[in-house]
């Protein structure tokens, strides 16, 4: 029966364990659609001021974070001349181990200072080169040549303008042609420039408020935010614009102090519904690129009716292009989810096994308790058992009688001590002899045979300032005599002999006492009532005396 029970539990547990992976995988398959797809946002212009290097350093930090470069060079142009062309073109080149250098091709007029700074990720910088020209009247200056910073294999050039609305969308690349640097300019779609993965600047706070942090951006041009709702859940398919706003300093959600946008959750809840897939699309006015945050709304687990926006792992950067990132993110998320599910499964199995073991142990303990109880009951009813209830009843009665008539162990001791102290206080000097006797007996009882030392105290008399010592203090140990082995053996024999004498004396005392009780004392007239307590001879003698007494009186 017990084996069948255990077998059934094992089978049920096995089925449960077999089904758990499917349940977890199924639930994960639903949630796996919630992963975010981070696209890219293109920032093709910056408001780096010609004389404000801090913006350049900010820009450097911006570039570094998104391209993980070792460092890069930046050109700062400071001109105080009357420029026929108001635009100052800053060309920044990404600087890494494979490419280096800086090129600038612009036309400036008047006195212009050119500085090349090498900027490092920690925003430290050092001046690499500088140049001042006095060219005028539409002079084209090959700054790269002037600054002697020829470099090869430059793959990317970034165009930065101090006028974000100039929108001169040109990128320059360079190549070597017969040892001369050729800097043709190309009209390049800004979407082909470096990609800013904006994931770091978009977050959903714990309160589900959408926060767009632009503090790390140098670009503060108006950005349009659109929230798209997809019909099928697949991005870039049919969608409906649910919400659109312009993120600018005029926006009510713009917090200038923090350089962030805060879009409250209640606004999102007003048009987001559970089960739908949404994406945030940030559109730069001059380009048609965006960063899309795809998320899926689902009902919160606590059934409060709140919409929970799931953006996945926000710390998972999307990389440079963002093309392969979603799949990588998805795969990584899938691996993480499977790992998590495996851990959960292992924990669940362990917990289940522990619960089963605990249940079996508890059942065993219960069974043992029931069996032992039944055994006790049977033993109480069995006349041949020592636990037979009659025996127990008799034992209880004996204990009751004993407790009724026999005082406790320390009762008499406490009683005597109590009486002794009471009499001592009450009778005073009359009771002192008894106290003295008790003290004497206690002292006698405390004598031990460990030592045999006699101490004679000093005896002296003081009179009128003079002292007379009659007996000096003296101490003598009798055991010092036992150093001699012969004498020690004799002493031991002597002690044995004394013990024998003492016990013989006790025996003699006992015999006399017994004769006085049982045999009586010679010459004593014994009454009939106590005749039975006398020896037979004395009884016969008593009868003879009695008969003789009667005979004499008859005569």
């Amino acid at each position: 029966m017990k084996n069948k029970l255990i077998l059934s539990i094992v089978i049920i547990l096995s089925i449960f364990v077999f089904l758990i992976p499917f349940n977890i995988y199924k639930s994960y398959a639903v949630k796996s659609d919630n992963h975010s797809v981070i696209e890219s946002i293109i920032v093709e212009a910056s408001n780096i001021s010609a004389s404000d290097f801090s913006d350049a350093s900010q820009y450097a930090y911006f570039v570094y974070k998104n391209h993980e470069l070792d460092c890069f060079d930046a050109l700062i142009v400071n001109t105080n001349a009357t420029a026929t062309h108001t635009n100052s073109y800053f060309f920044c080149n990404f600087y890494n181990s494979n490419s280096s250098g800086f090129y600038h091709y612009s036309r400036v007029t008047g006195n212009t200072n050119f500085y090349i700074y090498r900027i490092y990720p920690d925003l430290t910088y050092n001046l690499v080169n500088s140049y001042s020209n006095t060219y005028s009247s539409n002079a084209y200056v090959n700054v790269a040549e002037i600054l002697n910073c020829y470099s090869l294999n430059i793959t990317n050039l970034m165009y930065v303008s101090d006028n974000v609305f100039a929108r001169v969308s040109r990128y320059y690349t360079n190549y070597i042609n017969n040892d001369n640097i050729v800097l043709p300019y190309l009209d390049i779609d800004m979407t082909d420039s470096f990609v800013l993965n904006n994931l770091e600047y978009i977050d959903i706070s714990p309160s589900n408020t959408l926060v767009i942090d632009e503090s790390g951006l140098i670009h503060i041009c108006p950005i349009t935010l659109q929230i798209l709702e997809y019909e099928t859940g697949d991005i870039d398919k049919n969608y409906t614009v649910k919400y659109s706003t312009t993120l600018s300093s005029d926006n009510s959600y713009w917090f200038e102090d923090d350089y962030i946008y805060r879009i409250p959750k209640n606004l999102l809840d007003s048009f987001c519904s559970a089960g739908k897939t949404y994406s945030f699309v940030f559109t730069v006015p001059y380009e048609h690129t965006y960063v899309a945050l795809e998320f899926k709304c689902y009902q919160s687990e606590d059934n409060t009716g709140d919409i929970v926006l799931s953006l996945g792992d926000l710390d998972d950067s999307g990389g440079d292009t963002g093309e392969d990132v979603p799949n990588e993110d998805s795969n990584q998320q899938l691996i993480d989810a499977i790992t998590q599910s495996n851990n959960n499964l292992a924990n669940t199995i362990t917990e289940s096994n522990q619960n089963v073991v605990n249940a079996i142990e508890e059942q065993n303990e219960t069974s043992k308790g029931i069996l032992s109880t039944i055994g006790d009951i049977v033993s109480f009813l069995n006349p041949f058992s020592e636990n037979f209830f009659v025996y127990k009843l008799i034992e209880l009665l004996i204990d009751a009688l004993k407790s009724l008539f026999v005082p406790s162990d320390d009762f008499f001791t406490n009683w005597i001590d109590d009486l002794n102290s009471y009499f001592g206080e009450c009778f005073g000097i009359l009771y002192y002899p008894f106290e003295l006797l008790i003290d004497f007996l206690n002292r006698v009882a405390s004598i031990e045979d460990s030592t045999a030392i006699i101490n004679i105290p000093e005896f002296k008399i003081s009179f009128m300032g003079h002292e007379a010592v009659f007996v000096k203090p003296y101490s003598y140990d009798f055991n010092s005599l036992l150093i001699n082995d012969t004498f020690k053996n004799i002493h031991n024999v002597y002690l044995v002999f004394v013990d024998i004498l003492l016990w013989l004396g006790v025996v003699y005392l006992a015999s006399n006492c017994l004769r006085s009780i049982i045999g009586g004392i010679s010459g004593e007239v014994i009454d009939n009532s106590v005749a039975s307590e006398k020896s037979y001879s004395n009884y016969v003698q008593h009868q003879n005396n009695k008969q003789r007494y009667k005979t004499e009186h008859r005569k």
């Binding site: 008539f405 026999v406 009486l419 009471y422 030392i453």
Partner: protein, 90 residues
């Protein structure tokens, strides 16, 4: 419990009787100190008896002797109690 109750009652009676004697003066402390000094002097040197006789033997013999000496009285006392019990062998 019964014995304890009886003894406690007797104790209460004895204390009630002895209460009027509480006006008696205490033992003079000088006498107590003198006697104690004497006893301390004696018993602090009494250990040398163990050289002549086993103290343990003396204690045992003394207890047995006391028991024997009081056996007659103890016997009569016990018999007196037994006769008072309301039981009979007939």
């Amino acid at each position: 419990m019964i014995i304890e109750l009886i003894i406690n009652l007797i104790t209460v009676v004895i204390k009630l009787i002895a209460t009027p004697f509480s006006i008696l003066p205490d033992t003079p402390q000088a006498l107590v100190d003198a006697v104690n000094y004497y006893l301390d002097l004696v018993f602090s040197n009494l250990d040398f008896i163990s050289f002549f006789v086993n103290v343990g033997t003396i204690k045992a013999v003394a207890l047995v002797a006391i028991a024997i000496w009081t056996l007659d009285k103890t016997y009569h006392f016990l018999m007196w109690i037994i006769r008072k019990l309301p039981i009979s062998i007939e």
